[in-house]
């Protein structure tokens, strides 16, 4: 099997004497390289960082000062980037990709976009505001207002980036990812880093933010297998799926897990097992649905409601979560309600809803698709531009929420700390507690040996202590009712209790270990036979696309959703100005009317009436409790007393 030649940072192929490791890494990366399906209307696709960097200029800015250009456009290369002196600790270094457009260029761009409407235009679905309630819309309104005051990328930046990127594609159309292979904790981790020149989620798709440069990533986790450990026919799930043939150096690697990065999520919910039906694959290539604008990676095509939490509202959001959980699970308000159980919990009041459109109806890149990958760029930690340059990869917009600021590189966070996905890719996806299949079998065997040894020790110890206990018990009974031995008796009594507890604890440990041993033996037999737990057992809350019926809202409902908050503010001002004495009543009437209208659009009149009535009943109950507290206490005590009296008399009668 021929292995592709890897590329160095300056695009020169590594010669034949390059390490076998690099060649193997590239081969692994290519074997499992993903297929990306984009959404129609997406303008930016994975590009090579070298080409981006050559179009950018390098700047730094200190707090309260103007930005200073370090290297002009055309002077920045990956090599020079790796040599930048990052010695100014208070300065923020950033690359700048876009320049302000001339008005004529902007107009020409907009006209050209309109002409290409049929092929390239994104068609939004149900508005994001129509999918959530008033509180979320209000928080969204606040968020939009803050955009006027905090830093943001210039309004024409997206257009400028699109034009520059289009020129780059015209010069040389290529789609490239940046690959990295990490070996950690028995896993071979294939990292696929995708670099986009611009993230136009806000301006293009009603999302949360725009920023220059965007790094996204997915990972494939491989395990080296020894068929003798797991069994030749032991892995019916992965059998034959690694595309291996006899003599193939990649044959010993089996894909076990994938993890797609999406916004700032980490942990168990991110990863999927290779045999999970949710993971689409074409041969050995996992399929990724890329969200429009934000470029988040998803397993299934669809529209994902993503909630952005503002740090200011964090505590309120947590309280809202607790209350929702209490209402839904403890009070069981929607138990048995098929519609409500299918809808799931409502979005949190204090989080701003945005939609990630990962429809997969646009361009596709990957093996066997309309566009294919160029030879990947291999990432190594010792490369200067990766490790030395800790600045931002795009414009620094001075946004305190950081949403509009460009990201740092694959190795660093914006605050210059190292990304967990870089230094601990296994732990990032929650795999640090999962051994590879071969290691699992070996660990199981070792654990059973340890347990059996411990059982043997326990049995000996129990035998000794039980004998001592019987001895002590006999002696203690002999000393009973002997006044002259009272002190000794008390001492022996205490020892007896202590030893009895000790023996009971040992017996309990023996019994528990025996049960554990039995379980481990069964589990080992299953593991050796290649049988595994359900692929989704580790997932607590999967991020699933919004179901069609959840956001089937008419045009009127969407208009109402967009206008409701503004209208609410106008009514409040009118009440204060024209009817100050009736403000409270007016507010209550307005909120009731708005709630009724909203519930009508969503077909949730019954839920609204029920929730409101139950809420009022709770308030009324609290009032009664406050007003008649001691009477209620007295009545409760009398009731309990009467009940006890009745039960005891009944028992006596029987």
């Amino acid at each position: 099997m021929m292995l592709d030649s890897p590329l160095q940072a300056d695009n020169r192929p590594i010669d034949a004497s390059a390490t076998e490791q690099s060649a193997l890494d590239i081969a692994l990366l290519r074997r499992y390289e993903p297929i990306l399906h984009f959404t129609r209307g997406e303008q930016f696709f994975p590009a090579d960082v070298e080409r981006y960097v050559r179009q950018a200029s390098l700047w730094f800015q200190r707090p309260g000062e103007d930005a200073i250009c370090v290297l002009d456009r055309g002077e920045v290369t990956l090599e020079t980037l790796g040599q930048v002196d990052m010695g100014r600790p208070d300065a923020i270094y950033f690359l700048k990709f876009t320049e302000p457009l001339e008005a004529s260029d902007l107009v020409a761009y907009r006209v050209a976009r309109r002409r290409n409407r049929e092929r390239e235009t994104f068609i939004p679905g149900t508005g994001r505001l129509a999918r959530v309630g008033y509180a979320s819309r209000f928080v969204d309104a606040l968020f939009n207002v803050t955009l006027l005051t905090r830093g943001r990328v210039p309004g024409d930046a997206a257009a400028a980036a699109a034009l520059t990127y289009a020129d780059m594609l015209k010069d040389a159309e290529s789609y490239r990812y940046h690959g990295r292979v990490v070996r950690e904790a028995g896993w071979t981790v294939l990292q696929y880093w995708f670099f986009y020149v611009y993230n136009n989620w806000r301006s293009g798709f009603s999302g949360a933010n725009d920023h220059e440069a965007d790094w996204e990533m997915i990972m494939v986790y491989l395990a080296e297998t020894d068929d003798e450990v797991v069994g030749e026919a032991a892995d019916p799930v992965n059998d034959g799926v690694n595309g291996a043939t006899d003599g193939d150096p990649l044959a010993r690697f089996r894909p076990e897990w994938v993890a797609y990065a999406s916004h700032d999520y980490t942990g168990d919910d991110l990863r999927r097992r290779w045999d999970d039906p949710e993971v689409e694959k074409e041969g050995t290539h996992p399929v990724v649905y890329v969200a429009a604008g934000s470029h988040g990676s998803y397993y299934q095509q669809g529209e994902y409601l993503t909630e952005l939490e503002i740090a200011f509202f964090h505590r309120l959001a947590m309280v809202a979560d607790v209350l929702e959980n209490f209402w839904r699970n403890q009070l069981r308000q929607y138990a048995g309600d098929v519609e409500e159980e299918r809808r799931g919990p409502a979005s949190n009041f204090f989080r701003i809803p945005f939609v990630d459109y990962a429809r997969g109806d646009g361009l596709s890149i990957g093996p066997g698709q309309e566009k294919t990958w160029s030879v990947p760029r291999l990432l190594r930690s010792d490369e200067g531009w990766l490790s030395t340059y800790r600045g931002l990869w795009g414009l620094y917009a001075r946004d305190p929420f950081a949403g509009e600021n460009a990201p740092a590189g694959p190795m660093y966070n914006r605050d210059r700390t190292i990304r967990r996905a870089w230094y601990d890719p296994v732990g990032w996806a929650g795999l640090d507690k999962v051994p590879t299949p071969d290691e699992e079998v070996r660990m199981l065997a070792a654990r059973q040996v340890d347990l059996r040894a411990r059982q043997s020790e326990l049995r000996n110890e129990i035998q000794r202590n039980a004998f001592a206990l019987r001895n002590l018990g006999m002696t203690t009974r002999a000393m009973r009712n002997q006044p002259h031995l009272q002190l000794r008796y008390n001492e022996y009594q205490r020892k007896l209790e202590s030893l009895s507890d000790e023996v009971a604890a040992l017996r309990r440990e023996l019994a528990e270990n025996q049960a554990l041993l039995h379980t481990l033996e069964s589990y080992t037999a299953l593991a050796r036979a290649g049988m595994r737990e359900p692929p989704r057992a580790h997932i607590r809350r999967a991020h699933v696309p919004t179901a069609d019926e959840q956001f089937r809202a008419g045009r009127l409902a969407e208009i109402w959703a967009a206008a409701s908050i503004g209208l609410m503010l106008v009514v409040i001002v009118a009440l204060i100005y024209f009817a100050r004495h009736f403000v409270i009543f007016g507010l209550a009437a307005m909120l009731s009317l708005f709630a009724f209208i909203e519930a009508s659009f969503r077909g949730r009149i019954v839920r609204m009436v029920t929730s409101l009535t139950v809420g009022l009943a709770v308030v009324a109950a609290l009032i009664l409790l406050f007003e008649f507290f001691w009477s209620i206490v007295a009545l409760t005590v009398l009731t309990i007393g009467s009940y006890l009296l009745w039960e005891n008399l009944r028992e006596l009668w029987q």
Binding site: R332, D337, T613
Partner: protein, 182 residues
């Protein structure tokens, strides 16, 4: 055959002669379903009648409150004056608010007695309106024993109506019906 529920199904098995095993199995299944249905229906009927009784008591309370308030005034003198006194006007407004609610309460009680699906939602709406009335009265310091009593009945009814089995018995039936129809 008689059409009574439960005990009939338990104590008197239908006589079947000359039927094959398949037909017997079919009958057994139908009777099992009928038995489950009849038990479920009996529970639902009992619950509905308790709620209906409470609604009737509530309607009676509303009527009594209104009558007591109105009886406090000498209406001949009030009418003789050009305008009603503030207290009398207040009592009239109260009557205008509570009497329709009492009427709907009675209607809902009847609907609940005959296990109509709409009765559950109507009962909830009425409790909501009455609770708003009670809480508003409490907020403006109109705190009398009748308001507290009304609050108490509303709370008991809401608890009952919101119980899982009661809610499912009325709203769940609609979902089932919709699914079958679809």
């Amino acid at each position: 055959m008689t059409k009574s529920n439960g005990p009939w199904l338990r104590s008197r098995q239908p006589v079947v002669r000359g039927l094959n095993a398949e037909r017997l199995a079919e009958l057994a299944e139908r009777h099992a379903d009928a038995e489950a249905y009849s038990v479920d229906r009996r529970v639902r009927r009992w619950v509905a009648r308790v709620i209906a009784a409470l609604l009737a008591v509530q309607a009676g309370s509303l009527l009594a409150m209104t009558m007591v308030r109105l009886a406090q005034f000498d209406w001949e003198r009030e009418v003789a004056d050009v305008m009603l006194s503030a207290a009398a006007l207040d009592a009239v407004l109260l009557a205008l608010m509570l009497l329709p609610l009492a009427f709907f309460d009675l209607l809902t009680a009847l609907g609940m007695w005959f296990e109509r699906a709409w009765a559950w939602l109507w009962a909830m709406i009425i409790q909501g309106l009455l609770l708003i009335f009670c809480l508003s009265s409490y907020a403006i310091n109109r705190r009398s024993w009748d308001i507290y009593f009304l609050m108490f009945i509303c709370i008991v009814l809401v608890l009952y109506l919101n119980a899982n089995d009661v809610r499912l018995a009325f709203t769940g039936r609609q979902s089932t019906y919709r699914r079958i129809r679809d």
